[in-house]
């Protein structure tokens, strides 16, 4: 049945039983690898494409099939969703565009009325993509709305306000759609927001639940905040989480406390900042939490992708969640209980003597920011950041892009003013030849380094492993590349002409595999040239 016929048929059917992208398709995304249905490719956030047409023996034949230039020369951080021949991307600030995945021709385009003076304090004007469920595309906007669009026309189905942008709330993440709900988080910890994770009814836009990431007085965890500091405590939730449909648990990563670099006004561990929360998606209750960096004063938020995998650890079958944290440690947790199983340094750091038996960092003295400056690794942008890692079930490796960069951290005075930067210091990062980057392959169960591919400068782009034995990614100097997933050997590269700030993805049409990578303000779609 062609796509056009499907659309016509569904128009006359009630409910979502025969919707084009029902929840079941999202749960079973691995069974249709020629589509890319969620931000990270599947609910477990592998960012792994099983497609193998492009592989280690023919990747040298990659060529640009088509390119799409986003409006206004803006930065691309979007990961496209591709389903049934249509690609859905976002363009900054919060435009959604549907493209013909075969040729790049535009099908529809929708732009919200983002005010010219929209607040985006602490990050550039970006958007990381959409979610899809049934017949609807969901997008978060820079002025903190969540909007549902008809996937065929771009018509608005509903539009709700998630937070007050005047106070610094903004949405840059790709939403996560699950069974009947859309989950989003907010940016704004550099403005002193009180962060939260929200779930909205996918049909109506009604708020199903809100889970604040900073507890109010009397709630568990509130003892880790002093006085009124919880009200401006940060804990933003600006990156898409992962989901385990069997355990019925959402895994959401929580950002830094506010103010960032001056912790004097918020003594305590500052739960649940710099943590992972396991949430019950039915009501938003916290099932368990694990804090990576208690009382953070370096902006080492935990907004990195948590990857869900199952494996035997010390002779026992475990359901795991693993993550390479901004603080330079790799963590292996039991995702049913939150128990810390293993952790180790995966990139240069000078702030900790390691982790104790419970995964708590052994913080070295004199590592706090000061007026005179404190030199530490990693820099405030972390050993890695929002850009995605990838897990290949074929190699068992966790691929992470690392930033090997130190910073001098400064502490400053700060007072909360609504909607104004709430920082309390800053950094001067080592740059140029004094910093570098790498694609690092880690044993996913231990965090031990298996191979390294050096990059000239610390990058802002993620990676994707494939069934063709490749790892795709991009450099800050504008190279798009493919490495051998087993050895890290470079097999292909393309000079795209501008820094890369996005994650690769892949899809297929009629048996042909395409790899999508963006650089500057151009989305490039690559395919194999004929032999």
């Amino acid at each position: 049945m062609t796509r056009v016929m499907t659309v016509v048929l569904l128009t006359f059917l009630p409910g979502n039983a025969l919707a084009q992208v029902p929840y079941d398709r999202l749960v079973n995304a691995d069974s249709e690898p020629h589509h890319w249905l969620t931000y990270s490719g599947n609910y477990a956030s592998y960012r792994f494409s099983q497609l193998a047409e492009i592989n280690t023996t023919n990747v040298h034949r990659l060529r640009v099939e088509w390119a799409y230039q986003v409006s206004g020369g803006s930065l691309i951080e979007t990961t496209p969703i591709v389903v049934d021949g249509v690609m859905y991307i976002t363009e900054p600030p919060s435009t959604v565009t549907a493209l013909d995945a075969r040729t790049g021709q535009r099908i529809w385009r929708w732009s919200p009325d983002v005010p010219r003076d929209v607040k985006h304090i602490g990050f550039p004007i970006v958007n990381r993509g959409v979610a899809i469920l049934d017949e609807t595309i969901f997008v978060g906007t820079l002025h903190a709305h969540l909007v549902a669009l008809d996937m065929h026309t771009g018509a608005v189905k509903w539009d709700v306000t998630v937070g007050d942008n005047d106070l610094g709330y903004a949405l840059t993440l790709a939403p996560l759609a699950i069974d009947g709900k859309v989950i989003v988080g907010v940016s704004g910890a550099e403005v002193g927001i009180r962060g939260f994770v929200d779930a909205y009814d996918a049909e109506t836009g009604a708020l199903a639940w809100r889970r604040y990431t900073v507890p109010s007085p009397g709630e568990p965890g509130s003892e880790t905040w002093d006085n009124e500091s919880w009200k401006t405590g940060g804990g933003s939730t600006w990156l898409t989480g992962s989901f385990d449909p069997e355990l019925n648990l959402l895994y959401w990563m929580i950002g830094n406390p506010s103010p960032d670099w001056n912790g004097d006004m918020r003594p305590g561990d500052n739960l649940y900042t710099c943590s992972i929360l396991a949430l019950n998606p039915d009501n938003g209750e916290i099932v368990w939490y694990f804090q990576f960096t208690p009382h953070d004063t370096h902006d080492w938020d935990a907004n990195q992708i948590p990857i869900l995998l199952d494996a035997e650890i010390d002779g026992r079958a475990r359901k795991l969640v693993v993550t390479a944290n901004r603080n330079a440690f790799y963590y292996v947790l039991d995702r049913e209980t939150g128990e810390f199983l293993r952790g180790r340094e995966y990139s240069k750091q000078t702030w900790s003597d390691g982790l104790d038996a419970n995964g708590k960092p052994l913080v070295r003295p004199n590592t706090e920011p000061t007026v005179d400056g404190t030199l530490l690794w990693p820099s405030l942008q972390g050993a890695t950041n929002w850009f995605s890692p990838s897990y290949s079930p074929e190699t068992g490796l966790f691929y992470v892009v690392v930033r090997q960069m130190g910073s001098v951290y400064f502490k400053g005075e700060v007072e909360y003013e609504p909607g104004e930067p709430f920082l309390g210091g800053g950094e001067q990062a080592l740059s140029g030849d004094d910093a570098s980057g790498a694609v690092r392959a880690l044993n996913a169960l231990t965090g031990e380094r298996v191979w390294d591919f050096e990059l000239l400068s610390p990058p802002w782009a993620g990676v994707m492993a494939t069934g063709g034995g490749l790892v795709f990614g991009g450099s800050n100097e504008g190279n798009l590349y493919a490495l051998d997933a087993t050895s890290g050997e470079p097999l292909w590269d393309f000079s795209a002409g501008a820094a890369v700030r996005s994650n690769p993805m892949s899809f297929g049409i009629e048996g042909r595999q395409y790899v999508v990578m963006s650089a500057g303000s151009v989305v490039y779609v690559f395919g194999l040239a004929p032999e």
Binding site: E228, V371, F410, E413, E427, Q428, S431, G432, S475, E477
Partner: protein, 272 residues
């Protein structure tokens, strides 16, 4: 759904404190503000501009007139945002007040009358430049540079005398970073590199013109460009701390070095 106004806002409103205060003029900042600005200057700015603002890798600031910051508001924005295309980076998350405190301290440096004491004689220095020093071989007869050596005509405005002297006796310690805008900020320009394409083949020596994770562009001593994909190279060595410019430590006497520095400082300032 608009969140309730947080308590600090209410407090400010009750106290009648304007939340959106006008930026404070530099001349109205207190001695304590300027003292705090000095502490931040010493931590953040002195590495390039010198503890007393006499310059170093960055230009001297102890002068009443700054070419990139002719008025106070421009100076504050330079402290906050840096100067794109130059080695001057953004301030790194300074609050508006902190930027003003640093700017006020910088202006206080300009009120001091610190003159650069130049011992040398520019005319003798010019003779050394064109003769014994053979500087013109790489930097051109009028110091406007050639394919191999950089333009020096604005070096007096960009560098302190002390820094120029250091770059003559130990050139490898004084490579410019982010000056030309060709390489990304912070990368050392004119960095000597050695590249070998195949085992046994002779080495190519030159300096780095540009580089990415996958390619490098090298200029040899004859001024010829060589473009390499890194996978083609069996060896690529970067000689940090070194320069292809010879040291003048042995060739010139102290007095001759002073003369040469005086000549370079006297070259016409090209900065707008």
């Amino acid at each position: 759904m608009r969140p309730n106004l947080p308590l600090p806002v209410l407090t400010l409103l009750l106290l009648g404190v304007p939340v959106d205060a006008h930026p404070q003029e530099l001349s109205t900042l207190s001695a304590a503000d300027i003292a705090h600005g000095e502490r931040m200057y010493r931590a953040r700015c002195a590495r390039c501009h010198g503890l007393q603002g006499l310059g170093g890798e960055g230009p001297a600031l102890a002068r009443p007139y700054l070419s990139y910051a002719r008025d106070d508001e421009t100076l504050v924005s330079v402290v906050q945002d840096g100067i794109p295309g130059t080695g001057m980076p953004p301030g790194g998350w300074l609050s508006d007040l902190e930027a003003r405190q640093i700017a006020a301290y910088v202006r206080s440096l300009g009120r001091l009358t610190i003159a650069q004491v130049l011992e040398g004689d520019p005319a003798r220095g010019e003779s050394l430049y064109k003769g014994k020093g053979a500087c013109a071989t790489c930097h051109g007869a009028n110091a406007t540079g050639d394919r191999f050596g950089p333009d020096l005509t604005s070096v007096g405005a960009r560098r302190s005398a002390e820094f120029i002297r250091q770059s003559l006796v130990d050139p490898g310690s004084a490579l410019p970073q982010g000056l030309t805008g060709v390489l990304a900020f912070g990368f050392r320009e004119y960095l000597p590199v050695t590249a070998v394409e195949q085992p046994g083949r002779s080495e190519l020596q030159g300096h780095r013109v540009n580089e990415t994770s996958f390619a490098i562009l090298v200029r040899d001593r004859a001024g010829k460009l060589h473009s390499f994909h890194k996978t083609e190279l069996v060896e690529l060595t970067k000689q940090f701390g070194q320069s292809l410019m010879p040291s003048y430590r042995e060739l010139l006497s102290d007095a001759e070095l002073d003369d040469l520095v005086a000549y370079l400082i006297s070259l016409p300032e090209m900065i707008p």
